[in-house]
């Protein structure tokens, strides 16, 4: 304590006086010693020399004595920092290259990490979100299908694994009784839902079990956003009623803002139990899934077994067609991000590799520089610097430079993230919440320190023992250019080339996939089509006939529009995804085992749909007006089905059974075969698909497709008027040009591909810098040798071949390893590649050639320099 106080006083008073005082004291003591020696009979010169020799290094001793007054670690750190800053300024070219390289590497990592962190790593914004589980049913043919009400009730009642459970689904209802009919989205949930997702009411209350049962009063809880934007945010809304699909619902509460659970924005919540009868058969499926919170300590598989046992018991007590159904359970966090996870991890991997390249570039630069600084270090060792002290100083210097690089990288990340979010496709959960927050800062700081250490330790590892005399005498760089350092540098460049080949190969694969997907014939002509999406509310359109009448009149009116060439209607338009699949079987074919019953997409179309969309008719005929209610039931299949079952003959005339051989279902006659249509997006394999005529299966939800002669959107206002003239209470779900919608199915692929391609470009650039740097150093270190060879009669060609061979060895090694690594890693890309194999040899060759070209370009400069060395001048100087 007293010691600290003395030191502090001294520090504040300044230390200059102390240094002088100590120097004087040492000097006087040297004299005292010399006099002592003299008194014992030495000559005065001898005595002084003896005293000095006996005393030791006065400067070092003075410094050590003075240092007792300081806080040495901290002060030497400050000193190293100052020294580091000075040496950064002293070599601005070198420092700039190092800082920019690190900034690129660290910036790319921070940007991608912030996205990965937000989308994949951060817990979902619900209480104990890590224990939230998504439950559904599953059987041999399909995973994750809806949970029936009966099964849900049994699960909730008998399970031992979950704290609570809630069913949820969404639905579209029309809100009337206000200015304009409003197409709204309802979240239909059971009463436990709000507690599971941690939502609290801002006004009023949420559902209780009393509200959530058949026969209860019809109640509704409003979402905050809907309440403020559409209902004026009036607190008097409580106890009023909303007319939804023509029925009146009592408003009992408004949620506090911020609940986001459903994939699309939900306007209000309705109690799910209100629409369910407990007597409903156990195999009656809707679209309900179940959210549940695991009890602490219960594993997912244990919970699954628990639910399976309940289903098995039910199968014994109440056997039915779904006895083989089992529970599907996954962590909610996984289900929300599974389709973006592979691409995001791939990008994270790519930027990680880029940082490795950046690090090895910088390590090489640091090594080259530390070789030229060998003399400086030798001198400092000679005058008494300890090895540990020197290492600490080199490390501090590198940490400083990597910290600057990291800070710059953070700016880069901030900037590139803004661009990233602007370009990003819609629908990636939570992506727009990405920000440079504390976690990203921490990540960047850790990364900067790590790279600083990695890079700074390179010369320490390779230095081995420094031979002072040699280093001082050599006066140049050969002093520390040990064999170890040389091979270490070579290894770094080989690693860079390896990584670059891998990145070039992967991005090449994805680019080819994107191009393939873009050029895929979608099976229809998406240009000049205006799509009008409608859902008729069942309250006003109670029977199939009224539905059919409406659409007949609508299509007729649309056809009269000038500018509308053809008009068709379909239930599930191309690229809308999976609108529902079901089992089927072909009459007359061998009956498949129960677990092998095939599935097909089922779609509904009117006679003009195929012609309007340009979907080619391959066999038979399209629907006609004769295929109406009461006429024989007919269907059109796509080529996938036709080729699968009738590879040699025509499918027309055969019959298809809806539901497969193991359950009741209508039988349709196949009247035509049409071309495949990419139903799930341009980069998806075509699925089996069966069309039924609209007249025989009228659907409230249809999309009218209008082929226009001019720009599709020009027709939009007229189309709106026509809809309003038919039913002014009918909201339009969407009305837009179809082409954009089809292209949008590739948005995500385009996004991740472009990012990866950018990173591959960055990798190419960085490794070119690496190859250049290494070779340049190699030539510089051998200028004299080259000059001697030239003087002894070697031709410039010989020199070029010699130097070129050095570069080629590294390139060959790097490419060989890169091809192996790329080949080995390619299976990770399987899910991301489309239309080509992940082991595409052509792409590997192209990637290799690109890397060779860039490396050759980078090597050309130093190689040319090697051949231009003027032997006479160089040798004279040496």
């Amino acid at each position: 304590m007293r010691e600290w106080w003395s030191k502090l006083r001294r520090t504040l008073a300044g230390r200059r006086g102390l240094t002088d005082d100590l120097a004087e004291e040492i000097e006087s003591n040297l004299h005292l010693a010399a006099e002592d020696h003299q008194a014992r009979g030495m000559e005065s010169d001898q005595a002084r020399a003896a005293a000095r020799r006996r005393f030791g290094n006065p400067t070092l001793i003075g410094e050590k004595a003075r240092d007792t007054w300081t806080f040495p670690r901290f002060e030497s750190f400050l000193q190293d920092l100052r020294y580091g800053a000075r040496s950064i300024r002293k070599a601005p070219g070198y420092s700039l290259v190092v800082i920019v390289t690190l900034a690129l590497g660290i910036g790319a990592n921070s940007a991608i990490f912030s996205v990965v962190d937000t989308v994949l790593l951060k817990p979902l914004p619900y209480p104990s979100a890590e224990r939230l589980v998504y439950l559904a049913e599953t059987h041999a043919k399909a995973e994750g299908i809806s949970v029936t009400w009966g099964n849900y009730r049994a699960w909730r009642k008998y399970n031992h694994s979950f704290e609570d459970m809630a069913g949820f689904q969404f639905d579209h209802l029309t809100l009337t009784g206000r200015d304009e009919p409003l197409f709204t989205t309802a979240g239909e949930v059971t009463s436990g839902f709000f507690a599971l997702v941690g939502a609290k009411p801002l006004l009023g209350r949420v559902f209780t079990d009393e509200d959530d049962r058949a026969g209860a009063n019809q109640t509704v809880v409003l979402d905050y956003d809907f309440w403020t934007t559409k209902l004026g945010g009036d607190s008097k809304i409580l106890d009023t009623a909303l007319a939804l699909n023509g029925r009146s619902y009592h408003v009992i509460g408004v949620l506090a803002p911020g609940l986001r659970f459903f994939p699309r924005a939900v306007d209000y919540y309705l109690p799910l139990g209100l629409f369910r009868r407990d007597s409903t058969p156990r195999d009656k499926h809707g679209s309900m899934r179940v959210l549940a919170r695991l009890r602490p300590g219960i594993t997912l598989s244990a919970a699954r077994t628990d639910l399976d046992q309940i289903l098995q018991r039910l199968a014994q007590e109440d056997p039915g067609p779904e006895n083989d159904h089992r529970a599907y359970a996954r962590f909610l966090a996984d289900t929300k991000t599974e389709d973006v996870r592979p691409a995001l991890w791939m990008l994270m991997g790519a930027v990680g590799l880029i940082l490795l390249i950046a690090c090895s570039n910088v390590a090489n630069l640091v090594l080259a520089r530390s070789a030229t600084r060998a003399r400086e270090i030798a001198i400092r060792t000679a005058i008494g610097a300890g090895k540990g002290r020197l290492v600490r100083q080199v490390l501090t210097e590198n940490l400083l430079i990597s910290a600057i690089g990291g800070a710059l990288g953070l700016f880069l990340a901030q900037w590139s993230m803004r661009v990233l979010l602007l370009m990003a496709p819609r629908g990636i959960p939570r992506l727009q919440e990405t920000a440079l927050d504390f976690r990203v800062l921490l990540f960047t700081a850790a990364l900067s320190i790590l790279t600083g250490l990695l890079v700074g330790l390179a010369p320490v590892f390779t230095a081995g023992k420094v031979d002072l005399t040699k280093a001082l005498n050599a006066g140049g760089r050969s002093g520390t250019d040990t064999k170890r350092a040389r091979s270490f540098r070579n290894v770094l460049v080989v690693a860079e080339i390896t990584i670059t080949v891998v990145l070039a190969f992967s991005s090449g694969l994805l680019l080819r996939s994107l191009m393939t997907a873009q050029n895929t014939n979608p099976g229809f002509d998406p240009s000049h089509v205006l799509a009008l999406e409608l859902v008729l509310p069942s309250s006003s359109y109670k029977d199939p006939q009224s539905v059919q009448n409406f659409y007949d009149r609508l299509l007729q009116d649309l056809r009269t529009l000038p500018g509308a060439k053809e008009v068709g209607a379909v239930y599930c338009p191309p690229s809308a995804g999976d609108c529902g699949d079901w089992w089927y079987s072909i009459i007359g074919q061998p009956v498949p085992a129960k677990s092998d019953v095939p599935l097909s997409l089922f779609n509904i179309a009117n006679p003009e749909y195929f012609e309007t969309m340009g979907i080619p008719l391959k066999e038979g005929r399209v629907f006609t007006a004769a295929d109406r209610q009461g006429a024989p039931q007919v269907a059109i299949v796509n080529e996938v089905i036709a080729r699968r079952w009738f590879p040699k003959e025509s499918a027309v005339g055969h019959s298809i059974k809806f539901g497969g051989p193991y359950q009741e279902g209508p039988i349709y006659e196949i009247v035509g075969v049409v071309g495949n249509v990419s139903q799930e997006g341009l980069d998806a394999q075509p699925m089996p698909e069966i069309y039924q005529p609209f007249a025989q299966r009228p659907s409230e939800a249809m999309v009218a497709m209008i082929r226009t002669s001019g720009a599709p959107n020009a027709l939009a206002p007229t189309v709106r008027r026509i809809v309003a003239s038919l039913d002014h209470n009918l909201p339009i779900q969407s009305l837009r040009s179809f082409e954009k919608r089809v292209a949008a199915t590739l948005d995500r692929r385009r996004f991740s591909t472009m990012l990866l391609a950018t990173f591959a470009g960055l990798a190419l650039l960085l490794s070119a810098v690496g190859v250049y740097g290494l070779l340049n150093y190699w030539v510089t270190a051998r200028e004299e040798e080259i000059a001697i060879r030239l003087a002894l009669g070697a031709s410039r060609e010989t020199i070029l071949r010699w130097a070129g061979w050095q570069a080629s060895q590294l390139l060959i090694a790097g490419i060989a390893l890169g091809v192996l690594a790329g080949w080995g890693a390619s299976h990770w890309l399987d899910t991301l590649v489309f239309g080509i194999s992940a082991r595409d040899a052509t792409m590997m060759i192209a990637a290799t050639l690109a890397v060779i070209a860039i490396a050759a370009l980078a090597a050309a400069v130093p190689l040319t320099r090697a051949t231009r060395i003027n032997a006479a001048v160089k040798l004279q100087r040496a």
Binding site: R2, D21, E24, N29, E35, F55, T68, W69
Partner: protein, 120 residues
């Protein structure tokens, strides 16, 4: 380099010993750094060699603890030198340290003594 003193044959200072020895050397009166070194070497029959790299920092540490004080004075052969003297605090510390060291030495001696003698 010539080796005037063969360091390996001398005793090394244990942690904290040098400081006690400095205090002891000042007990007989103020002295300068060179004198202190000489005193320790003489009185240890040259078993201890005082390294200036340890002596000077040790003096500074004692100053910081205020166990000694320093003053520039003129030596008997009329040379300016920095003299150190014990402070009352240092005197007290010396007594404490001496007792401790004696106990330490005795204990070491007992343990290291040939077996059988101590219990005989």
């Amino acid at each position: 380099m010539s080796t005037v003193d063969n360091l390996s044959e001398r005793l090394e200072f244990l942690q904290g010993t040098l400081e006690v020895l400095i205090l002891r050397s000042l007990q007989i009166g103020p002295n300068h750094a060179y004198g202190i070194g000489q005193f320790i070497e003489h009185n240890s029959d040259s078993e201890f060699l005082v390294d200036n790299g340890s002596l000077y920092p040790a003096l500074q540490r004692l100053l910081q603890r205020e166990w000694i004080a320093s003053q520039w004075k003129v030596s008997p052969n009329s040379r300016r030198a920095k003299y150190y003297r014990l402070t009352p605090l240092g005197r007290k510390q010396l007594t404490v340290a001496t007792t401790k060291w004696q106990r330490f030495v005795e204990a070491m001696g007992r343990v290291l003594a040939p077996k059988g003698q101590s219990n005989a």
